[in-house]
């Protein structure tokens, strides 16, 4: 396959992470094209969340590096942070601030222009405009996650990491999330998602990665893969 310029939008090179004596990630290599949606599958404890935390510069790798648009994370982590958004199972919100105060706070951290307009648009998008002045503490898990979607999109990131974003969500929040993802994909946003749901992960993704203790053991486009077949592939790869 010929590589195009956009193939190397994100390039992950020999990424390893060791916590104490435990090697969590071992020589992870892959690249990602602009506008692509990649789902990372893998059993519990294999390092999916650690991978997301490293790629979002929350954690430093023990070895290796990655580049976004050719810019090394080691050299310029602030550039990486300016261009990424993270939606995790944890909403990263202050419970004693209102939804509006939380979004305004993160807008200022990300130097968002026209803050109020952006917040109005995103609250409308996630369907929580009427609860904007309520404390986040009073929100259900699903509503907090919808505010978290707005938080992650405040600075219009070009690359979004979704770390098990559907976990614990009510059907309405799942619908809001999937619709938002769909809209952003049309506008060319790139995604990396981790999930345990093989079906959901395959439906959304252009490419599937399977992570095991050995590293990336599967990295293929999803268009010709059926869910049933993929389940067999997955089980074979993670048990082997």
């Amino acid at each position: 396959m010929n590589k195009t310029e956009t193939d190397n939008y994100l390039e992950v090179k020999n990424l390893s992470k060791i916590f104490g004596r435990r090697k969590v990630l071992s020589d992870i290599n892959f690249f990602l094209g602009k506008g692509e949606f990649v789902t990372v599958f893998g059993p519990n404890g294999v390092g999916k969340t650690t991978l997301i935390k490293i790629l979002s510069t929350i954690l430093n790798p023990t070895k290796g590096d990655f580049c976004l648009e050719g810019v090394s994370a080691k050299r310029d982590p602030v550039f990486i942070r300016q261009n990424i958004g993270v939606l995790s199972h944890n909403p990263y919100l202050y419970p004693d601030l209102t939804a509006y105060e939380n979004l305004r706070f993160f807008s200022h951290l990300f130097s968002v222009e026209k803050v109020d307009e952006r917040i109005d648009y995103l609250l409308e998008l996630v369907g929580l405009s009427e609860r904007r002045f309520d404390l986040v503490r009073t929100f259900s898990r699903g509503m907090q996650q919808r505010i978290a979607i707005a938080r992650a999109l405040l600075h219009e990131p070009a690359l979004i990491f979704l770390d098990e974003p559907h976990s614990g969500l009510d059907p309405l929040a799942v619908e809001v999330l999937d619709e938002t993802i769909g809209g952003l994909r049309k506008s060319g946003t790139t995604f990396i998602m981790t999930t345990h749901s093989l079906e959901k992960g395959l439906v959304l993704a252009d490419r599937a990665l399977i992570l095991s203790a050995k590293g990336v053991v599967f990295n293929e486009p999803t268009k010709d893969v059926k869910v049933g077949d993929f389940k067999d592939i997955y089980l074979k790869q993670v048990s082997g």
Binding site: L59, V86, Y94, D96, L97, F110
Partner: protein
Amino acid sequence: MKTFKQLYALIEKDIIAQLRTKDMLSAMFIFILLAFVILNFGFFEVLEVIKQNPKVVGSVGGLLWVALIFAAVLGLNRTFVLEKDEGVMDGLLLAPFDRSLIYWGKFISNIIFLLIIQVLSLPVFILFFITQSFASQAWLLIITIILGDLGIVAVGTLLSAISVNTRARDLMLPILFFPVIIPLLIGVVKLSSFVFAPQSNLVTIRVWLQFLGVYDIIFLIMPFLVFDFVVED
């Protein structure tokens, strides 16, 4: 300008959250009041003797710092608790700025909270323990409090970021904090004794002020160097 806006947002968020819950401020203020009441009534006779003796009257300054330092630890212990318990720290680490800005946001918020507590508690201290006017030495008390606060909060905020990631975090901060803060405490107690004593030695005062200044500078530079490592798991 961008950095100042980000710093302002970090401070504003802490102040809004604190004014809403008042958990840190009320705990600190109640502790100081209790400490003053216990010290006043527990040592009533001793204090009467001290107040009459010009040679030792300055030692009441020590009582002020006993209450202030324990109240400060109470507040400092909660510096990063919300970020840790609610998992917001990762959200802050995603922001596109030098991570020491998170420290400076907390540092300035803590200074503001400590100053509020001191403004509220100083009149109570004066009411309980001071019988003679110290107006001519008030400048020294103000400088001592400012230098003391800078050191206490600089050390406490940094150590709080470390201790919050440990299992026994409530215990860990005092264990780490007190050995490091002892030199500063000796300085502020010495200087406070000059405030409340009828006579003071300007040369000694200058030496202790310089000592506090150097201490503060050291611990205000340190976060630039180490905070990034502290916040990484």
